[in-house]
């Protein structure tokens, strides 16, 4: 006699579980088919939109705007704006303006506003990108609520769009957020600020003296990305800051001879990270009297300090490769000599390729 019958609890449990699994599988299969059919349909519609609008956009870009601009059907809104944004993103100057005009005639602004208000994330992003490329300050109020969205992508692109619309007005709104929102990638923030130009840079520089902590560090990184220079007084104050991270940030920005005395003093700092960046800075703005200082750093206990000191020596305009080779031969410290020869070889390779 078999111990387990069809009525045994575990058998029943297994039967129900297996049946439920197969039923769910059939549902999934139906969902996959539905998604595939829907995707195919959407792809066909998008293809039709592209075929209709690409020639019109091309004519607008070539400064030959079409006489007649058709209406964009509601179901084609997304495909239309995707194509328009994709083209706009690679254009500059009058070509871009031509595309904007065709877009406005096709009511791209109204379509974008509807998508922005619609609530769906992907469509809201598309709406923001469209409004940004349209560069129209009339859309300011529609964009503003999304600047503080918890969604970092939506909020940072809204900031970008507002900068495109009116950089002066955007500066005071965007700069504090750029400093506070650690979820906004720095690389993207720098790109937005580069686009915004002087108004944003000025707004950041105005706030700089009052900044502390994480906001100050972030500001210094942004300024480095923008290749900006600090006012001399402020720069020296930052080079004396008790935070090593702030000192490093300030060293990375040093580009003028005015801060040389402070940088020279930092070349013998107890923290090796400071010495690394001091060496690097001396390579940028150093004078002939800094050669001995850098040579001394070639004997530093930290590999990175030796590396940057060797790089700095190689980049000083008044030292030629023969001078450095002679220096390498004269060095007592074999690690320093090896590092200098390594940097010379890297530089020689660059010369061969030039």
């Amino acid at each position: 006699m078999t111990s387990t019958q069809a009525t045994d609890p575990w058998v029943l449990a297994a039967l129900w579980t297996g049946t439920a699994a197969l039923a769910l599988t059939l549902l999934l299969a139906a969902e996959i088919v539905f998604l595939r059919v829907r995707m195919r349909r959407a792809a066909r519609r998008e293809q039709a939109v592209v075929q209709q609008w690409r020639p019109l956009f091309a004519a607008a870009i070539a400064d030959d705007p079409p006489r007649h601009v058709p209406r964009v059907a509601r179901q084609d809104r997304v495909a239309f704006l995707k194509l328009w944004v994709h083209l706009q993103a690679s254009l500059r100057g009058s070509a871009s303006q031509g595309l904007i005009e065709v877009g406005l005639r096709a009511r791209a602004d109204r379509a974008a506003l509807r998508l922005l208000a619609g609530g769906q994330r992907a469509e809201a992003l598309l709406g923001v990108l469209t409004l940004g490329h349209l560069r129209d300050a009339r859309h300011w109020d529609a964009l503003l609520p999304h600047l503080d969205a918890s969604d970092s992508l939506l909020s940072i692109y809204t900031g970008w769009a507002m900068v495109q619309a009116d950089p002066w007005r955007a500066a005071d709104l965007l700069v504090p957020r750029v400093l506070e929102r650690a979820d906004w990638p720095l690389a993207q923030v720098v790109t937005i600020m580069q686009d915004g130009g002087a108004p944003l840079l000025r707004a950041l520089e105005t706030r700089l003296p009052a900044l502390t902590g994480g906001a100050l560090l972030r500001a210094l990184r942004i300024l480095e990305g923008l290749r900006a220079t600090l006012p001399a007084g402020l720069h020296e104050r930052l080079l004396d800051d008790p935070s090593m991270d702030v000192v490093v940030g300030a060293l990375r920005l040093a580009a003028s001879p005015g801060v040389l005395p402070r940088v020279r003093a930092l070349a013998s700092h107890a923290d090796w990270r400071i010495r690394v960046h001091a060496a690097r800075t001396l390579g940028r703005i150093g004078e002939p009297e800094d050669v001995d200082r850098l040579r001394a750093l070639l004997a530093d206990s930290e590999w990175w300090v030796r590396h940057r000191a060797a790089e700095a020596l190689a980049s000083l305009p008044f030292l030629a490769p023969p001078d450095l080779e002679r220096m390498a031969g004269e060095l007592q410290d074999r690690y320093g000599a090896a590092m200098l020869r390594h940097i010379l070889a890297v530089g020689a390779g660059a010369g061969e390729r030039a």
Binding site: Q5, A14, L125, A182, T191
Partner: protein
């Protein structure tokens, strides 16, 4: 002592409940990961629009050192390196590490890339076998080659880490096929979150695809059945296995085929462990353990985009060796880092992910195969009815099909890289068929791997029989 007259029936009941319960818990766990992945994938799909826009570099993107360990790759290394030099990223270097190849790998590299020896100030941060020479390319400024004594893949990666100039490094298999924007995509988590210490990307099966100039030009499905099974397997493993765990910060593997790490975090952890089979997983598990012990905030994330393609074994023997090796690697990773299991401040890795891997991945083959064997034996001895056997098989196979189907659904929601209906039909057929033999065979191989790990048998990598012709020089390749 009097035994219960029906002790054997009670035992059968107990084992049956245990096995059924195991299958149900295992598959429910995977389904939970699936649900988490759906949310993550939908968010990622919403951002696809941004991928189509021209990339603008601000100069603040972290530069990356791409490390390519190579052993006996003379036939393919030139094409691989050439494709890596064409990656689209703001700043990166390529370091090929010739790990004591017995063939002409180093000679090929020297000839193809005009290498010259140069006096690099090589810094040993992680121990490795002696470096014989370091070369730089006179034609490609961002290419260097390290020639060293053989020490295995982990050792080669350590040598590359020592020479890497940049704060992030990317370990890439020499035969991996990347996409031009692979680095751009897999670096994104580092840009968003400074606590990220490692990211991994999805690895897809390259069999059946068209490759030109080292890059994938057309996606296709393999004709070979073994490879087809692996397509579905990889969908399951990456699209909800790793993505689900990543959302919980419990991802224990970053694929050795393609992954980015913060160099200082890896050096702090001691680098890759030499002479391990699963060096990729072992390092990540160790990083979890050490970061949790030191209570430093960190994340290890997964990028679901298909950014790395690899050739899958197309014959049974090679596939068998691979699966045995993977199971052994899993065993090493787990036993070397046992302290993570329910450890202090263990979090998701210690209290969820690690126990999951121990119970369902490492010891899983024992229960899965044991369950099948037990039920068949019990049926033969008349301890279970045919209905009971059928019910068990319905659960085991039914849940397996459900899991595979959900992997296919995730692919359809997200990247749908197989656009043709015929491809979908073939994948659908495999979703069903793999549960009638292939999965059970895999479990058997994994059991063999578990046994070999237990016996500490000498690991054999074996030689993969490569079918892909994309690695030979294409007429349109630049010299």
């Amino acid at each position: 002592m009097n035994w219960h007259p029906n002790w054997h029936l009670i035992l059968v009941d107990f084992i049956a409940w245990f096995v059924i319960g195991y299958f149900v818990v295992l598959n429910l766990s995977y389904l939970t990961l699936n649900l988490i992945s759906i949310v993550a994938l939908r968010r990622r799909a919403q951002e696809k629009l941004l991928d189509d826009l021209p990339q603008i570099y601000s100069g603040l993107e972290p530069p990356i050192s791409v490390l390519v360990p190579a052993y006996n790759e003379e036939a393919t290394i030139a094409a691989s390196v050439r494709s890596m030099l064409q990656l689209s990223y703001s700043a990166y270097e390529v370091i090929v590490i010739n790990d004591g190849s017995a063939d002409r790998t180093i000679d090929v590299l020297i000839e193809e890339f005009s290498l010259l020896p140069y006096p690099e100030a090589y810094r040993v941060q992680v121990p490795c076998q002696p470096v014989k020479q370091i070369y730089r390319s006179t034609r490609y400024p961002n290419l260097r080659v390290i020639d060293k004594a053989n020490g295995g893949k982990a050792d080669a990666l350590n040598a590359g880490i020592n020479a890497a100039r940049f704060p992030l490094f990317c370990g890439v298999d020499a035969d991996s096929i990347l996409q031009r924007d692979s680095l751009q995509r897999v670096v994104r988590p580092f840009l968003r979150d400074p606590t990220v210490i490692a990211t991994g990307g999805t690895v897809r099966i390259a069999n059946g695809c068209k490759v030109q100039g080292g890059f994938l030009t057309e996606v296709g499905l393999p004709r070979n059945t073994w490879a087809l099974y692996q397509v579905v397997e990889y969908l399951r493993a990456f699209l909800f296995g790793r993505l689900g765990w990543s959302a919980l910060n419990g991802m224990l593997i970053v694929s050795g085929a393609f992954g980015i790490f913060r160099k200082d975090a890896v050096v702090q952890a001691g680098g890759y462990l030499p002479r391990t089979i699963g060096e990729d997983m072992e390092l990540v598990v160790r990083m979890h353990r050490l970061m949790r012990q030191s209570r430093q905030p960190y994340r290890i994330e997964f990028v679901p985009d298909p950014i790395c393609w690899t050739e899958a074994p197309e014959d049974r023997a090679t596939l068998r060796n691979q699966r045995i090796r993977w199971q052994r690697g899993l065993g090493e990773s787990i036993t070397n880092n046992w302290g993570l299991m329910f450890g202090p401040n263990g979090g998701v890795p210690g209290y969820l992910a690690f126990p999951f891997f121990v119970l369902f991945e490492w010891l899983g083959p024992l229960v899965e195969l044991g369950g099948y064997v037990f039920m068949v034996v019990a049926f033969i001895f008349g301890w279970v009815s045919v209905q009971a056997l059928g019910a068990f098989l319905l659960v085991a196979v039914g849940l397996g099909i459900l899991l595979s189907a959900s992997g296919l659904l995730l692919e359809e929601i997200s990247f749908h890289i197989y656009p043709r209906g015929s491809q979908l039909l073939r994948l659908g057929a495999i979703v069903i068929l793999e549960n009638f033999g292939y999965r059970q065979l895999n479990s058997w191989w994994r059991l063999v791997g578990l046994y070999q790990w237990a016996r500490q048998k000498e690991a054999q990598w074996g030689t993969m029989k490569r079918q892909g012709s994309w690695q030979t020089r294409h007429p349109e390749d630049k010299p």
